[in-house]
Symmetry: D3
Subunit: 166 residues, 6 copies
Amino acid sequence: MIYQILEKLDKKFHFEGAQAHCDIPCGIYDPSTAQIAALTVVRMMDLMADLAGGEEKSNVDFHNSMERYVTVKEEHAEKAKHEIRVIFGDFISDAHIADHPELPGLFHKIMKLGGKARQTADRENGVAFVEAINDFAEIFWAIKGVATKKAKAPYAPALETVYPDL
Amino acid sequence: MIYQILEKLDKKFHFEGAQAHCDIPCGIYDPSTAQIAALTVVRMMDLMADLAGGEEKSNVDFHNSMERYVTVKEEHAEKAKHEIRVIFGDFISDAHIADHPELPGLFHKIMKLGGKARQTADRENGVAFVEAINDFAEIFWAIKGVATKKAKAPYAPALETVYPDL
Amino acid sequence: MIYQILEKLDKKFHFEGAQAHCDIPCGIYDPSTAQIAALTVVRMMDLMADLAGGEEKSNVDFHNSMERYVTVKEEHAEKAKHEIRVIFGDFISDAHIADHPELPGLFHKIMKLGGKARQTADRENGVAFVEAINDFAEIFWAIKGVATKKAKAPYAPALETVYPDL
Amino acid sequence: MIYQILEKLDKKFHFEGAQAHCDIPCGIYDPSTAQIAALTVVRMMDLMADLAGGEEKSNVDFHNSMERYVTVKEEHAEKAKHEIRVIFGDFISDAHIADHPELPGLFHKIMKLGGKARQTADRENGVAFVEAINDFAEIFWAIKGVATKKAKAPYAPALETVYPDL
Amino acid sequence: MIYQILEKLDKKFHFEGAQAHCDIPCGIYDPSTAQIAALTVVRMMDLMADLAGGEEKSNVDFHNSMERYVTVKEEHAEKAKHEIRVIFGDFISDAHIADHPELPGLFHKIMKLGGKARQTADRENGVAFVEAINDFAEIFWAIKGVATKKAKAPYAPALETVYPDL
Amino acid sequence: MIYQILEKLDKKFHFEGAQAHCDIPCGIYDPSTAQIAALTVVRMMDLMADLAGGEEKSNVDFHNSMERYVTVKEEHAEKAKHEIRVIFGDFISDAHIADHPELPGLFHKIMKLGGKARQTADRENGVAFVEAINDFAEIFWAIKGVATKKAKAPYAPALETVYPDL
């Protein structure tokens, strides 16, 4: 609630800054792409752990699956980092940062967690990556004046995810 | 409602076919990426129409903007087509098609509408593209046993969009 | 022969539908790209089997080669699926499907075989992928009114491949 | 004929050099991808000329089409250059160059023609690009010991193209 | 000079933070890629202005060139933004930010200038983009303990550029 | 020194040939991108050797790291080959080759070394790849009339690298 009030004040006093102004500018920003990508990272970590702990497989099948999981994990961690950069770099204005001074630090933290999510298969770090992006999504939707809710994602790893309450 | 019942029967009698089995297989399919891309296509059509109808601009700025709109329209129409192909080709099984025999025709229609959305800037066709993908999303979520709702997208062009009701 | 006759009738009665109308539309469709990609998938499966069965190698060289084979297999299976989607989604019209009602099922089968070709290194599945794409190529060239022939591809794995008889 | 004889001698005396040794190495090289791409370049030039010379169109449709033709021309000219680089850089050995000393010059010429094909819409240059790649394909198949034939491509712009005679 | 001294203190007291730790981590970071990309953006702006102001050209050639300049400008502005994100997100640590508190603001400014460089052909903004990246490069090399110098880039637009003094 | 004199003569007598004429043409060519990529290849080889020789790691972490090193090595070897092709194919003219007749052979050698750098993790070959690209950079800058110097790269593997002396 506090966000919406701040946002309305913000809109009143910083009219230009509160406008979406992306690279087009088209105004279509949506953190869901980054959120799905981060969930996929955790899913790959789970599949990697299952594969490594599973019954013995033929050499070729083991390598085929392991490599594919690592590759998908790499791509989605990078995709999530890229999407967050687009929203932070193109949509978020100085006025937004004045209202949400935690944003630059949160952005930097997401980049670091995404890097670690590529370097390891540590599930705890993967979950922290998802949560930091949820925090970012929450601020984003607050800036847009859209209420949010939390729900389990409708697919594995079924972590709690922030959604706009449309 | 009918979908969920059919789906439960489907799960009972075609157990393997009803399992998600993507290219990994990881089970994370989400039509929202295609839906956002299709909305972006319509947004670009609107920006193109505005630009063409607007007051005179310097030549360079006009071309700079027009080309960027066309390029973004191209990329997002292709992205939407690709995402739908992944869900239709990797997730949708023969058992799903038996339950939803309209799926192959709907898939083919989406490909055609996406092609036209690249070839023209005809907004009516763009809206039809969004709607066909909404229809696809509705069937997809029904197969997954997740209820859906309709709401206006929280950004321009603010068309009615199918969301999972989580 | 039957295809050409049907095609001529088709051209006579469904003039618009029989026109090539790709995303440009430019009319340059050629299944050979998908066919070469599918042959490459089988080639990678053979190289993976050779590597796994070969004399012991240093750890680094084994991983270097295995990963490269898996990556190339992934890329070419996806490339073949993409190329077939372009022809099926952009070139194939409702009139073509009326004349060749097996097309939607064949398309769906190619997507599934391509998915399995990524998930495993099972050569039998790889060969089935090549053959299904050959079947698609045969129908494609029949629609275009171009005769076809079969010949072994001039490179490993030298599987029988459908070529236009120019 | 002379090529095949030279090639047999070459195989006898330069056994290692005559082996395919690509970046995998997998031995699947095929100039057809470059040839289709170069034909597409000429096709786009024709469509650009048609569009510019055609009856007046609405501004938006004209820009939409013109930009798409230019983009496709760019991509396919680059694709043709890339494919020829792969064959020349990975497959062609010093022994092949000793037997076909025109190869380095032909390679350099193809790069220049491809560059011009991007910079202009000059059809004559586009056709020269197709022909130089045909010359390259002829030498390539001769090195492989595969006979070639010439036939019109089965799609616009229907230029004469070198094919392996399988 | 002050940077090197601070950096030595930093190395002494924040040993872990001062280590390069990229996504691999491999330690190879170099802002020159972003700098070349930003110079290319300005070069395209100059070519666009020349083209628009030049003697009349045939319609097709004008559009061919204009579109290619816009596309290259788009790609290089995005490339510069991406490269700076990699260095800021992967290499720059909290300890670096403590020593150079202007970094988060400078990062955000570069993203905004890069966005504007895509949206317009305004040379002044393009030059500001180059200069902000120069500022970033200066801090980066100071953190690495490498002295820098300024020199005109050895190609158009020949703007003053920060180089490591090796 | 001799290069600069030859270059001046070249500029005097082959004025057109000495002009940069890239695919835009924009005149911004810089071998540093290829040089950084080749250094990265050697860095990955070192990391692969360290990993293989190191203390035992958990299965998942070993595969995660090894695959990422191989993938980065692949990408950067290809990137270096691509960048050298662009300079050789687009910038280098027949007049330049007349003045530097070793260029076509050096180009072909770089392609072969880059191929081997993908196929193996042999450091000696990786270093030869870096050195051949240094030789190419030296000739390039001589053609541009820019003096060069050698210095250790300011990051691992810290090999001697050719830089323009600005």
